[in-house]
Symmetry: C2
Subunit: 412 residues, 2 copies
């Protein structure tokens, strides 16, 4: 890395109003971690709290912890911490289950709200689990169909038969971001229900969910929210609808009076009815604590930093890489992008493996995409500079083309 | 407690072939814990492993842990440890989601196997979540009905319209246990599918699931398996059926090739197709490690000890308590019972609160039931003796009848 790039990066880090956040995370010394959009880094608060929850709460208080340590309302309390980050009102967001399961719940609710319509509209390039869940639900109820279009064709596909549009705001490969308000408005104008997947949005940039008037949203706890591997997900229901949603996945924790052990189901008021079984308290405790890293943080600053990091990374890569060695897949306009950069390059898989072996962790998405995530809370401009320089060097020297380096990478 | 009872208990503890297991758990000094059927105690291995998984795996290896630390197949590896405890073949049992969610998956699969029948038969006294889930599923698919009968009337209710019998082997209040073979045979003779809920069976006594030929089973990770609060549950599919089950909850982790990111769903071979979203690795790691406490343990010994503990407890309570103060709700015959004892008594709630305040933790189930669980791996005969003596003393002195002692207890 040349000195001028390093100096520029260091100056941006020195001016970064979020620079103090990095100290809240445990990050390995020898790694530049650009995969926080797949698995967020470990917040020290999560490490500390989970140890307390295991030894102190489970070990010492045992069953009494459900009340004594607030396990019972942990899903609501964690949901409230997430709500602030996505522009949602307290009480509108619940932490529960996985993103996939939550999509199932809310897709079923959306279809029930539009009995005369039977199409679920989505993108062909949506993250597969969203599509798989829709397919399973339609198969189960024995009616309706999933209509998949390219991102550019969504607006044109909104017709009177569309019950619900299920869209992921940020494309998991390219980082391309849909405008929340504009898209929701188009969906509403067509009379359909809006279900957002905010997996790559929550904690990544400013989201004003309430303003958009979208009916439903889900999202992921283990990406930018840093809740740990397989952290529970979240589900949002627009408050005016929450008491009318009939849960398709109705379990005792979503009952109005779970400890009265009634044989008949009566949904709890509001979004609590989306609870199903007993929540994974240890994993949820990690997420709840992880969210402390966002306390006092202005999401507009998070968004600005993410955009600046990616702008800088793209500029450095394009400045340093051999001409024609790669091409930008992500939108160049930061307003149309999540905080990630994707480049297409031949031999992308081997290139990424070499990067990882050399200490820069991004990931690879078939067929040829290098994906780099810039989680704004803990990624520095010097990380972006170092990663760009290494990537350019690997491409220039062709040293990705060595054997024995092709361990299969895993997990979005 | 009188000396002869203490001596008898101590002698039984000394002769207990499982006595060494208690040292594998962290148990508070000042408590007799008889609620392991609600939340199992903390195994030291779980405490150790979860710290490693947080700091070493998540913190240091980050995303690489999916391969490097076996997160990807943790559901299958955990399922295999559970399989041994329930008499199931390796590869037949998956650790995933919650018991409620797993009931949904397998009820949907069962209904699909009997297209000409539309009744789900269950018990009126079943644990409510099982019934709620069935109600939600039937509402979603818009056909079928849930037929609820008393336990004694199950056999008589098995008719040609019953698609599936969904039964919990051990009643969560009384501990009354159904015979797995006999019940499954009756259900099969009526042409229906058998779905067992083994929430209060797995890890509690010997279960021979494969021998019973039941099609499906689910169970809980946080009771006798000691996986921690809200630990993931398990699902079993009889191996000859596993490749034919069409998952209603179809998510990317149950896809045949999850990392190929195909838009269309193709189920994974076998029980892996019951995976949905990304599993809660931290909670599942705790369960996986907790199961080490069963390594080398003969489940027939676990069953024998559980029976002996409860027999001894019942005898002591009945010997010491004031005549007429309480009545046994659990079966007196240990072969017809899980390792728990339930007594009905007026003012049961206040009595249980007093017991808890005095260091004996059981739980209360409306309207009037004191419930005591005797997890065989870590409960001693001296614990049973001490609890019986304290209960008798509370009933004899009437000191449950004091104010300010009525904090609401929670969670089954």
């Amino acid at each position: 890395m040349d000195e001028s790039a390093r100096a520029a990066a260091a100056a941006m880090d020195a001016a970064d109003p979020l620079a103090d956040r990095r100290a809240l995370f445990r990050l390995p010394e020898d790694v530049v971690y650009l995969d926080g959009n797949s698995l967020g880094a470990l917040p020290l608060a999560a490490e500390r709290r989970i140890a307390e929850a295991v030894s102190g709460e489970w070990g010492e208080s045992l069953i009494r912890s459900w009340n004594a340590h607030g396990w019972l309302d942990l899903p609501a309390r964690t949901g409230d911490r997430i709500a602030r980050l996505i522009g949602a009102a307290p009480g509108s967001t619940l932490c529960c289950d996985s993103t996939s399961i939550n999509i199932f719940k809310l897709l079923a609710a959306a279809l029930a709200m539009r009995p005369g319509r039977d199409v679920i509209l989505s993108e062909r390039g949506n993250f597969p689990t969203d599509l798989h869940v829709a397919e399973g639900l339609l198969g189960l109820i024995g009616r309706g169909r999933l209509h998949l279009v390219a991102r550019a064709d969504i607006a044109g596909a909104l017709g009177p038969e569309v019950a619900v549009a299920m869209l992921t705001q940020v494309d998991y490969r390219s980082g391309c971001r849909l405008d929340l308000d504009e898209t929701t408005r188009a969906v509403h104008d067509a009379g359909a229900v809006m279900l957002w997947d905010l997996a790559h949005s929550a904690g990544a940039f400013r989201v004003d969910l309430a303003t958009s008037r979208a009916e439903f949203a889900v999202g992921c706890g283990y990406k930018y929210l840093n809740g740990g591997p397989g952290a529970p997900a979240f589900a949002y229901v627009r408050p005016d609808l929450a008491d009318d949603v009939a849960p398709a996945l109705s379990g005792w924790m979503g009952h109005a009076a779970p400890f009265d052990f009634e044989p008949g189901y009566r949904p709890a008021p509001g979004v609590d009815r989306l609870r199903v079984g007993t929540p994974p308290i240890l994993s949820m405790t990690a997420l709840h604590a992880a969210l402390e890293a966002f306390e006092g943080v202005d999401m507009a600053q998070v968004e600005a930093k993410g955009r600046a990091l990616v702008d800088f990374f793209i500029a450095e890569v394009e400045r340093l890489a051999p001409p024609g060695a790669l091409s930008l897949v992500s939108p160049r306009d930061g307003a149309r992008r999540g905080p990630q950069a994707a480049f297409a390059t031949p031999n992308g898989y081997a290139v990424m493996q070499t990067l990882i072996a050399d200490g820069v962790i991004g990931d690879f998405r078939a067929p040829d995409i290098l994906r780099f995530g810039f989680a704004p809370l803990y990624t520095r401009f010097v990380d972006a500079a170092q990663a760009a320089a290494l990537l350019a060097d690997i491409l220039a020297t062709g040293r990705w083309d060595r054997p024995g380096n092709h361990v299969r990478a895993a997990v979005t």
